[in-house]
Symmetry: C2
Subunit: 201 residues, 2 copies
């Protein structure tokens, strides 16, 4: 009887604390990796605002011609487990998910007089590494304000893929624009030798 | 004997899982609140890059006169427990810590041609809510690249405190510049009625 009670109590304690652990993992923003629908669309990542912030930019453009559109902020997040892996290895593990948020910008509002701060949400770009699903390892998706699923931007080696493959400093990630990750990549020696980190004239 | 074994086993399980929970909380970026030295200096917050990103700005200034200095990015993070509390209540709990990172900016580098991305780390500003320690609830600190501890910016109701008190939308936080938190504050009705969210001429 005592033994049964002991086993039961131990089981309860394990169950209770396991629930607590799961809860904390979810609250901390851990994710199971990219989720896909039966017909191969990517499910919009949720909770990425609890993931790890990588860096942000304003009005960045790779084209020679300047745009007349409003400059947009780009906030980049990565799933926490992949971030930890990157800190340790300087490379990205399978199932890495990058989320790039687009936000409008304004200069004049409240007491602000110069520079820019973020205003309305404009969309999400998502980059996924999934070695089993994609022969080319990385795939690219865009979500507007409300879409819950997205098809990949033309399958295979499309323009996104090509540009990231040629110009991103580590695998398909532009760590040259993420100062804290760039330090790690330099330390681990994982920057692609073909990539120019300085101004490419 | 069986009872002793049961109690010991249960104790061990609790101990083991408590260690695991603590570890996850640290890895997930949870914090015990602001840490102070015996002589009242704030210990530099560590691990805030795993906290929750609030928003970023570029070259923001509240002065009429534009600055000739390089425009700096400002990345704002808050400790996860306080973020969760804010989502639920629209206000900040005691022991809230905001970290505002300063980063240099550049336009030309790698394949980028326009706009700005973040370059070198330039410093940290920290805002702490500690109701027992500060009669005025909030205190302000600045850390350069290497400082491990910082004294508060002139104690009490200094310029930082006054400006945040007068102009910040919720308590002492400028949620008018953090679009996702602004939504929450509007929904919870916690914006100070005296604060102007639009352009203050």
């Amino acid at each position: 009887m005592r033994k049964i009670f002991a086993v039961a109590l131990t089981g309860l304690v394990i169950a209770a604390l396991t629930i607590r652990v799961s809860h904390i993992q979810t609250a901390g923003g851990s994710v199971a990796g990219p989720q896909f629908t039966a017909d191969g669309k990517l499910v919009r990542p949720e909770g990425y605002r609890r993931w790890v912030f990588v860096s942000s930019g304003l009005g960045m453009s790779y084209s020679q011609k300047a745009s007349d559109d409003m400059q947009m902020f780009t906030n980049v997040f990565v799933n926490p487990a992949s971030y930890d892996y990157f800190l340790a290895h300087g490379t990205w593990p399978d199932k890495t998910i990058f989320v790039l948020e687009l936000y409008g910008s304004t200069s004049q509002g409240s007491i602000n007089k110069h520079g820019n701060y973020q205003t309305g949400f404009m969309g999400l770009d998502v980059e996924v590494k999934d070695e089993k699903r994609f022969a080319d390892k990385w795939a690219y998706y865009g979500f507007n304000s409300n879409e819950k699923t997205a098809s990949p931007n033309t399958p295979g080696k499309n323009d996104c893929w090509q540009c990231h493959d040629q110009n991103a400093a580590v695998e398909h990630s532009f760590v040259q624009f993420y100062p804290e990750l760039l330090k790690v990549a330099r330390e681990k020696g994982t920057i692609k030798p073909t990539v120019h980190l300085e101004d490419k004239k």
